[in-house]
């Protein structure tokens, strides 16, 4: 029994189709990563699954009483809203102190209980978001570029935590990621998206597929190409920090 099934789903923003004829399913305990260039509909796919967007065509089926834990791409908390980590964890469903503590520890953020949300660092914030997503005891954990804005070691640590969680909790994980070492190491299945599903399969399979090469560049290290491609793009956006290119190949071989 699949947790979520999309059959021939088309999603449109203002009559422009962002996703076309997508067929997708995720089964319990599976880790699926979605990759694709900017504007390829990755977030749209996730937002359709959580119910924030409605398919204009096709059918979306969820397992009855499916519990979804959702970690958004970014969450802006207005500085006028006072919110401790503890209070945040009880939204929307009040949880006991013990459950809150356990979730924070599982997410690797055990010490943050009484801190203000607006005072957390990027890494701490993402861990708290993860902890909150864990509190509903999810069958499916959805992460939308959850490590955006974290540095290399920060996001590596974050994804290690996720892998550990899958082992502990056995939930299915659906994530959008730019970091290929995560794709290679942790995913059961990779979906390459560009408005439609270009190709999908085991990570090694996708990395060598011609559709994937067409999107992310070719070369003997098709896998690595994705990583470099993303970095050239972020330079264009002048995000204002140095990207450490050199240590990357080492990390890549490590994870393969």
């Amino acid at each position: 029994m699949n947790l979520v099934t999309l059959s021939n789903v088309t999603v449109a923003h203002n009559a422009n189709p962002v996703l076309r004829n997508v067929n997708f399913a995720i089964s319990p305990g599976e880790i699926v990563t979605v990759v694709g260039p900017n504007g390829s509909g990755k977030s749209t796919l996730l937002r359709t699954i959580i119910g924030a967007l409605r398919p204009s065509q096709g059918a979306l089926n969820k397992a009855p009483d499916l519990r979804i834990g959702y970690v958004p791409q970014k969450l802006h908390i207005d500085p006028t809203l006072p919110l401790t980590v503890r209070r945040f964890l009880s939204l929307p469903v009040a949880v006991h102190d013990e459950a809150a503590k356990r979730a924070l520890e599982q997410a690797g953020a055990g010490q943050l209980m009484q801190r203000q949300m607006t005072g957390l660092s990027g890494g701490q914030f993402q861990r708290v978001l993860l902890a909150r997503a864990l509190l509903c005891n999810p069958q499916l954990l959805i992460l939308d570029e959850a490590t955006q804005g974290l540095d290399q070691p920060g996001s590596a640590a974050f994804y290690q935590q996720i892998e550990k969680l899958r082992q502990e909790l056995g939930c299915a994980i659906l994530m959008v990621s730019h970091e290929l070492h995560v794709v290679m190491a942790a995913s059961d299945r990779v979906i390459c998206l560009n408005g439609h599903i270009c190709c999908e399969g085991a990570p090694e399979q996708v990395a060598s597929a011609p559709e994937y090469r067409a999107l992310f560049g070719s070369g003997t290290q098709g896998a690595l190409a994705l990583y470099r491609h993303e970095h050239t793009h972020s330079h264009d956006h002048s995000c204002g920090h140095d990207h450490a290119h050199d240590p990357q190949p080492a990390k890549e071989t490590e994870s393969q």
Binding site: I50, A52, I68, Y70, D78, T80, R87, L91, P92, V93
Partner: protein
């Protein structure tokens, strides 16, 4: 202080509005809806004109117009214009239309100033019942939806994933806002309702660690402003609504001064 019946009614009216305005005002601040509150309040002068020309209760007319404005803004936002542009257009044009409409009613005895700046000393027992009934309804509504409202205030997608429809919560806030506008018009008037929503919430912010605490402190500040403003207006013979707002503004300044001193 002389405890005349009309003063007690005025104080009760002010406190009733302040209590309902506190939680709603917090949401207005958190969601950056200040202009939204203005637009809804300004539209209500048109409601006054309509109510008087159709000879129905002012409360009902204001409620209907405020609701109409609230849902217009909700449904129009995100369709081309930036929200602040849209609200600027709607807030001021509805005020202008309202003032023009009122001028057609010159035959009717109408004290425009009473609707623009409130007339808290003229609160009748029926008014008091309407104010407290409306306030109780708003507080109950927000209490009931509190968690869902907070979650959708944080992030719409987070709400969706938890099975909450953020559009529905927005509608609930619109409804609550309309009721508060309708009951507050007598107390502070059309032009100053937004101040009564925002200033106590903004004053409470530095003293609060959780949303609930901020709401409680805002309620206390609002009630203190209402009662204190009433007394000040009585002793200095100033207009009551603006005096209440002035006192709230002074408390806001003091709270910020206190923060400034504590930090240095």
């Amino acid at each position: 202080m002389i405890f005349d019946a009309f003063l007690i009614r005025a104080a009760l009216a002010g406190v009733g509005v302040a209590l309902a305005a506190a939680p709603l005002g917090c949401f207005v601040v958190w969601r950056r809806m200040a202009y939204f509150g203005d637009a809804t309040a300004h539209a209500s002068i048109l409601g006054v004109a309509l109510a008087l020309s159709f000879d129905t209760s002012v409360f009902a007319g204001v409620l209907v117009m405020a609701l109409a404005m609230g849902s217009t803004v909700s449904s129009l936002s995100g369709r081309g214009y930036a929200v602040d542009t849209l609200l600027g257009v709607l807030a001021h044009s509805s005020l202008a239309f309202g003032l023009v409409a009122v001028s057609f009613l010159s035959g009717v005895r109408l004290d425009l100033m009473a609707y623009l700046f409130g007339d808290i000393l003229a609160v009748s027992q029926t008014d008091l019942l309407i104010i407290w009934g409306g306030a109780a309804m708003v507080i109950a509504l927000l209490w009931w939806r509190w968690s869902a409202l907070l979650t959708s205030t944080l992030n719409a997608d987070l709400a969706h994933a938890a099975g909450i429809d953020p559009r529905r919560e927005q509608l609930i806030l619109t409804l609550a806002l309309s009721v508060v506008v309708a009951v507050a018009i007598k107390v502070v008037g059309v032009l100053l309702i937004a101040a009564l929503l925002i200033i106590p919430a903004a004053t409470a912010r530095p003293f609060a660690k959780t949303p609930e605490r901020m709401t409680l402190i805002a309620a206390v500040i609002g009630a203190v402003s209402a009662i204190g403003g009433l007394q000040l207006a009585f002793s200095f013979d100033t207009p009551t609504g603006p005096t209440i707002v002035c006192l709230a503004a002074v408390l806001f300044a003091l709270s910020n001064l206190h923060q400034l001193i504590r930090r240095t």
